[in-house]
């Protein structure tokens, strides 16, 4: 668990709920004197034209064991299929590490969520199957994930883990669908200069019941 102190269940629930109350879709609202950091981020005037890699701006966190568990879990969430590679194959684990290592308040909260969650899922794998999560076969991994993949349906003892899973899935998806492979998977075809904008083609209008 690297440098994090052990926490009790009530504390765990509190941080998980705090993390869940922010949504990944809205702009970040942190106001006035509410934000102060011990470590600087990229500042208010970063170079917008540069390509950034995880580790460029702040030191990364994952131990080898954490990376192994994160790799396994993000590939359970986004495995390879006929259309695109798995999350870990396109750098999502490094992105997760960049995210949990960032100095900003949301990411600091996610750091706790993710590191505790990875530890939990390994402990749960050991408890049930005497192996760490990454060593489990797909059926056993699924047995654990099925218990935590939807908070509204998860049993009381899995509530904290389900909140972790929801956040980890959002982070994995956020990492994956912003890669060139993920963008291609969604069949996004924009971000190219066009001479004119022609609006939706007839097949799109038909599909939407507007033709």
């Amino acid at each position: 668990m690297s440098s994090l102190p052990p926490i009790d269940r009530r504390t765990a629930l509190k941080w998980v709920l705090a993390a869940a109350s922010t949504t990944a879709l809205s702009p970040r609202f942190t106001r006035g004197a509410e934000w102060s950091v011990a470590r600087p981020g990229y500042g208010s005037d970063p170079d917008l034209l540069k390509d950034y890699q995880p580790g460029d701006l702040w030191p990364l966190t994952f131990s080898a064991a954490q990376r192994r568990t994160a790799t396994a879990l993000c590939d359970v969430i986004i495995p390879a299929d006929a259309q695109s590679p798995s999350a870990s194959a396109v750098g999502v684990v490094a992105f997760l590490d960049e995210w949990v290592s960032a100095p900003y308040p949301d990411q600091v909260a996610d750091r706790t969520t993710v590191l505790q969650g990875l530890a939990w899922i390994d402990a749960e794998a050991q408890r049930r199957f005497r192996q760490d999560f990454a060593s489990l076969d797909a059926a056993r991994q699924a047995a654990i994930c099925d218990d935590i993949c939807l908070a509204s349906r998860a049993r009381l003892e899995f509530q904290v883990a389900a909140q972790f899973f929801a956040r980890f899935r959002d982070l994995t998806a956020g990492g994956f669908y912003t890669t060139p492979a993920g963008i291609k998977d969604l069949r996004y075809v924009g971000n190219v200069a066009l001479a004119s904008y022609e609006g939706p083609p007839p097949e799109v209008l038909r599909h939407a019941g507007l033709a």
Binding site: T30, Y42, A173, I183, V189, V192
Partner: protein, 600 residues
């Protein structure tokens, strides 16, 4: 090159303008093209959109996949430099610890200010919007009417380039033929909204946004903008020729390197700079307006942020266009024996009647848009259509329970995937993971439409700003303290927005993650969040009840003008930027005429 250092300041200018955004940019443009010698002070750094804009960068190239952080709240690629809800070393305070009474203040310390990232919505106020008190007894009338500002709306639209259409709708003015640029074709989400909004009585029409859907007519427009001024015509023609039409990619909020979307540094400032009449000094944090024994403004004291040293600049006329908040702050910090409660404040109204826009939103998910065939719908980098306010009659008859209207902005489409594109889907996926999750992500991508209401707030005595008695910024300048309170008119309006969105989403066959929030106090966005801060130095017909006259000229100090949103005595649902520009042009014309008559 008009970019100067403090050592290069001339001894005296005709006019000093503080702030280079919509108001300051327009004022500098109008004055310099009329031959007036201007010093433009900007608190932020110089900013060159042509070189600095991340046009085709993808989230993959950004830290944290471009997600917003306190350093860049609207995302890494948002154009805002050294700004956001916080500016390091430059705090502001709230008089109340209650969340609902806090004001959120967005600043941008950069050339062009907030014009760089704004939504480019460019709506005219209608005739009712200038005479709200006459219509329903609330708030304040403007000392001018629509007819006074209409010629300036025409000119601003021709200069900056605004796409849109004319529909003859109530209190939603048409532009004269040939003024607007053609609107972009609707996206599929626009057509879906329009089809189902019509039976509900909502008009869905082309939005008006300051984006060039074709190149400006550089041959003919300059003569219409500056009749009889051949030099201005030449400069404006050259500037227009330097602007490309939209190439239908990238979001306007990043800024626009090809100058297709309006921002002050690429539209207002180039002809001003080319005129030879402009000195531009960036990193100049204005502290106070200086005055002489006769009570006239003499210049500005500012701090050079690169050295921390204080300087003075002198001029015959001072124009403040620093944003409502900063303009108020400057006036209140310009205390003297003659002006003990701050400059231009004999009415005691400086800082009073601060306004923002009422905001509330709801997102729908629509089966009709699932699994759409791939097609490029980046479009004009922002919205193509909107719904103007449609219930004027019901409202005037008192049937709605709130006095002023709102328009609806909506946003859908298969836009460039970002960090949140496949997040938070479990309410429709049942918590899928694995291959099923990938199928779900494909199915639901592009099937959401967000609806946002933007409504009029009525000025009230509980919403204002003053100086914090104790706190100073890192330059030693006393900071603003905000006081805020929505009235029932705003909270009921927000609840009405929620009901309308829910009704519309249902009619479109969609669903929402959570039910609409029918408690207006919970549905309404916090004050300041929509970043339409206006008021604080309202204009009027009577010096006892207003800070400026109809020319944005302060009653107490005739050579002091305020050309940002501060003089707005009301804040129509129409986004304020176009009106700021039109009134700034009108005020600058008056300023030139008064200068010529030696009246200042």
């Amino acid at each position: 090159m008009p970019l100067i250092t403090p050592a290069q300041l001339q001894k005296n200018y005709d006019v000093i303008i503080v702030g280079s955004g919509a108001g300051g940019g327009q004022t500098a443009y109008t004055l310099t093209l009329e031959g007036v010698k201007v010093l433009l002070l900007e608190a932020g750094r110089n900013y060159v959109p042509e070189k600095e804009t991340p046009m085709f960068q993808t989230p993959h190239q950004a830290p944290l996949r471009g997600a917003g952080t306190p350093d860049k709240p609207f995302g890494f690629y948002d154009s805002t430099v050294d700004g956001g809800w916080t500016v390091p070393g430059e705090p502001y305070t709230s008089a109340s610890t209650q969340k609902e009474r806090e004001f959120w203040w967005w600043r941008a310390r950069m050339l062009g200010g907030r014009t760089n990232h704004w939504g480019r919505y460019s709506f005219r106020n209608g005739p009712y919007d200038f005479k709200p008190r006459s219509r329903d007894g609330l708030g304040f009338d403007w000392p001018i009417g629509y007819a006074d500002l209409a010629p300036y709306y025409d000119k601003v639209e021709m200069l900056i380039g605004v796409y849109g259409d004319n529909h003859g709708l109530e209190n939603t003015p048409d532009s004269p033929a040939g003024v607007l640029l053609p609107p972009p074709k609707p996206r599929v989400s626009d057509l879906l909204v329009r089809k189902h909004a019509r039976p509900l009585g909502l008009p869905v029409v082309a939005a008006h946004r300051a984006v060039l859907t074709r190149r400006l007519d550089a041959e003919n427009l300059p003569a219409k903008l500056h009749p009889g001024n051949s030099r201005a015509q030449r400069l404006v023609r050259e500037a227009m020729e330097g602007r490309a039409a939209c190439f239908w990619a990238t979001e306007c909020g990043r800024g626009c390197s090809i100058r297709a979307a309006y921002q002050s540094p690429t539209v207002h400032l180039p002809p001003a700079m080319a005129s030879g009449n402009l000195d531009l000094l960036t990193n100049a944090m204005a502290r106070e307006v200086t005055t002489n024994a006769a009570g006239k403004a003499t210049g500005i004291v500012f701090i050079d942020k690169t050295t921390g040293l204080e300087h003075r600049a002198a001029a015959r006329v001072v124009v403040l266009a620093a944003s409502s908040g900063e303009t108020v702050r400057l006036l209140l910090n310009s205390k003297s024996a003659r002006f003990p409660q701050g400059l231009a404040n004999s009415s005691g109204l400086v800082g009073k009647y601060l306004m923002d826009t009422v905001g509330s939103s709801l997102v729908g998910q629509f089966p009709a848009l699932e699994n759409l065939p791939p097609h490029n719908e980046d479009g004009a980098g922002g919205e193509h259509m909107y719904a103007p306010w449609w219930l004027y009659r019901e409202q005037l008859a008192g049937k709605l329970g709130f006095a002023r209207g709102y328009h609806i902005e909506f946003w859908g489409g298969r836009r460039m995937p970002n960090f949140g594109t496949a997040a938070g889907l479990e309410w429709i996926t049942g918590g899928s993971y694995g291959r099923k999750f990938k199928e779900d992500a494909r199915r639901y991508y592009g099937s959401f439409i967000g609806f946002a209401g933007r409504g009029e707030m009525i000025p009230n005595a509980d919403s204002y700003c003053d100086l914090d008695p104790a706190k100073r910024d890192k330059w030693g300048i006393p900071v603003l303290r905000f006081h805020w309170k929505w009235s029932d008119h705003e909270t009921r309006q927000a609840a009405h927005m929620q009901r309308t969105f829910a009704e519309l989403i249902q009619a479109m066959g969609g669903r929402t993650r959570t039910p609409p929030q029918l408690d207006g106090a919970k549905a309404i966005a916090p004050g300041g969040l929509i970043i339409h801060e206006v008021g604080g130095a309202i204009m009027g017909a009577d010096p006892a009840t207003s800070v400026t006259n109809q020319w944005s000229q302060t009653w107490d100090v005739p050579n002091l003008f305020l050309t940002d949103g501060a003089p707005f005595p009301s804040n129509a649902d129409k986004n304020p930027t176009l009106t700021i520009m039109a009134q700034a042009w009108r005020a600058a014309d008056h300023l030139v005429s008064e200068l010529k008559k030696q009246n200042l």
